[in-house]
């Protein structure tokens, strides 16, 4: 009872005061409650895939948005996770409950390895270099068809959970936990150092920060979460193929991330949950369905013209205001800061 009351006080005092936090809470509860409303396998499938891509897009944000190392090859981690867990499941017959974490570890290692040559690069250079890694891995996989299945990939993988609703909960919970973890990292000291590296690496270095270590950490973390998403994807679709390493997928991560708003973690998640179901909805309408990629690209282009910072920033700036004195955020309808009482007009 006391716990409940304390929990309620926390919700009232910390969550309900800010519309953005209310939105997040409603989003989480909505996701958890969805199977109570519908068990339509197609709806659940779209939400499951949205969850997996949300983890993937957020992992892109961690390395690109926070530490400023804009990755154009994020599919490397998705593919490494997918192939890593698929190889273990397919050749050794391990259960997905083991192979997915193992695949994620492999992706972490891949991330750190890819980070090494990138340490000496920055800016656009680094972006272009990262584009190469998934393609090199694809070449290697094609060279070993008996191991990787060549262009067919590895199929007939064991499902993680047989029932759709079961997998739905695995996906939603994994997504919420991973995203919250990434948000914590972003909010921690490490996240602060990522910001510092992005803004001015030399200055950060001059202040005695071991910047290469933090840059590698960013890559490894992106690998970890990208790998989790990839592993889950492989055991959901039950095929791990070269399409998990394609340039298109890397570009998708960038589009979701920038569309939602970088350096926020929740932005890319919002980007995925807006754009992915949108393209699926379009597919339901005959004529629009055939041109959904075109519409998707147009929407992205127009939205970026209107809100170059991304949707999340734009919405947040409309519903909340930041106090100039204490940096706390307050509902836009209020005239004074909720923390220090400063005038917001």
């Amino acid at each position: 009872m006391r716990w409940l009351r304390r929990g309620w006080r926390f919700v009232r005092g910390e969550v309900l005061v800010l519309p953005s936090r209310v939105l997040v809470l409603a989003f989480c509860l909505g996701l958890l409650a969805l199977p109570l409303l519908t068990r339509d396998p197609y709806v659940l499938r779209v939400v499951i895939l949205s969850c997996l891509f949300a983890i993937f897009a957020a992992s892109w944000d961690l390395v690109s948005g926070y530490s400023g190392q804009v990755s154009l090859g994020q599919a490397l981690y998705f593919g490494a996770g997918a192939y890593g867990s698929a190889l273990l499941n397919h050749h050794l017959g391990w259960t997905p409950w083991v192979t997915i974490p193992a695949g994620a570890l492999l992706a972490t290692l891949t991330g750190a390895l890819a980070g090494v040559p990138c340490l000496r690069l920055r800016g656009s250079y680094l972006s272009l270099a990262t584009l190469a890694f998934p393609l090199i891995l694809t070449g290697a996989l094609f060279a070993l068809p008996s191991l990787s299945g060549g262009e067919l990939g590895l199929s007939g993988l064991a499902p993680l959970v047989r029932s759709r609703v079961g997998f739905y909960y695995v996906a939603v919970v994994t997504m919420l936990v991973s995203v919250f973890a990434m948000w914590l990292v972003g909010d921690s000291n490490t996240g602060l150092l990522f910001h510092a590296i992005r803004e001015d690496e030399t200055a950060a270095r001059a202040s005695g920060i071991d910047t290469p270590r933090y840059r590698l950490t960013a890559f490894a973390l992106a690998g970890l979460f990208g790998g989790v998403a990839g592993g889950l994807y492989a055991h959901f679709v039950r095929v791990a193929g070269p399409s998990t390493l394609e340039v298109t997928l890397s570009f998708q991560a960038v589009i979701w991330g920038v569309f939602g708003g970088v350096a926020t973690i929740y932005g890319p998640v919002a980007g995925v949950f807006l754009l992915y179901p949108l393209t699926e909805l379009l597919a339901l309408v005959p004529w629009l369905g055939e041109h959904r990629l075109l519409i998707f690209a147009l929407v992205v282009l127009v939205i970026l013209r209107v809100m170059p910072q991304g949707v999340a920033h734009w919405v947040r700036d409309r519903i909340e205001r930041e106090c100039r004195r204490c940096k706390a955020r307050t509902v836009a309808t209020r005239a004074a800061c909720r923390v220090c009482g400063a005038d917001l007009r």
């Binding site: 690109s64 190469a132 340039v247």
Partner: protein, 289 residues
């Protein structure tokens, strides 16, 4: 075999040089990674296809027309899509990616995903050093040389060229010296689009036209400009031949590994980066702001 390798590498390298130069130019001057450059390359190939097959023009008329149309398109892209968001580096990146997807989808809607080919206008072969070279390849080599020579002349022998190089060197100082930086950037966008157009118009007859044809050269271009040093025109030129020869060598020395040629080129890129992070000829712009 060595001779075949020499000739094939030369042809490959020259085409890559043409592709990479325009990309490198706009990056060097405006510090913009323009993915839509590859999209323009694809559109130019389709424009030539339309002019030759639908409008029925002869090749000498169709190619300049297609290049001119590509320049107009390139300028429109620059003014309408890139300029409004250029303050946000990542917004430029995804705007140009989205734009390229739009190009791809429009072409897909109009032509379907079929693999098309342009008619061969210059049919015939010659033996060079005992290696068969087609007229089409020779013609491409000639056009590439002309285009590269033209760019060199513009950059080194005209006032505009001086302005472009100055802006590439230091945008702010160039601005302070009274140059109209914005106009210089527009001019380089036009020049860059023209190079994409020439590449699309001249290279396309050598291979196949399809809505996804922008992806493979994009990766090659990126490898080349990174190896050569971003923004360094000389570097891009040399790196284009390095990659051209590496690919040819992969095919000749390891025929059953021909599919690896892209991956080998990219691995070399990573190798170069490890040894010389700024690329072969890049300036180590340590503190640019």
């Amino acid at each position: 075999m060595l001779r075949s390798l020499l000739v094939t590498g030369l042809v490959n390298g020259a085409i890559y040089a043409l592709l990479a130069l325009g990309f490198s130019l706009i990056f060097g001057v405006a510090r913009i990674v323009n993915i839509a450059y590859a999209g323009l390359y694809m559109l130019a190939a389709y424009l030539v296809y339309i002019l030759l097959n639908v409008a029925g023009l002869p090749a000498p008329a169709a190619v300049p027309l297609a290049v001119a149309a590509t320049v107009v398109l390139g300028l429109a892209v620059y003014r309408l899509v890139i300029e409004p968001v250029r303050e946000h580096e990542s917004a430029v990146l995804i705007s140009t990616i989205a734009l390229t997807l739009i190009f791809q989808e429009l072409v897909l809607a109009a032509f379907g995903g079929n693999f098309l080919g342009n008619p061969v206008w210059a049919d015939g072969i010659v033996e060079v050093l005992g290696v068969t070279v087609t007229y089409q390849q020779l013609l491409s080599l000639g056009v590439v040389t002309l285009a590269l020579g033209g760019v060199w002349l513009v950059l080194n022998r005209t006032r505009l060229g001086v302005a472009i190089r100055a802006t590439a060197n230091d945008r702010e100082v160039a601005n302070l010296m009274g140059m109209n930086v914005r106009r210089v950037e527009l001019w380089s966008a036009a020049l860059s689009a023209a190079l994409a157009g020439v590449a699309g118009a001249v290279v396309a007859p050598l291979a196949v036209i399809d809505p996804l044809m922008w992806q493979a050269p994009l990766v090659n271009i990126l490898a080349i400009v990174v190896v050569g040093g971003l923004g360094s025109l000389k570097g891009s030129l040399i790196a284009a031949f390095v990659i051209g020869y590496v690919e040819a060598a992969t095919v000749f020395l390891l025929p059953s590994g021909s599919f690896l040629k892209g991956a080998v080129a990219l691995t070399i890129m990573v190798g170069v980066l490890l040894l010389r992070p700024e690329g072969l000829f890049g300036v180590a712009f340590e503190e640019e702001r």
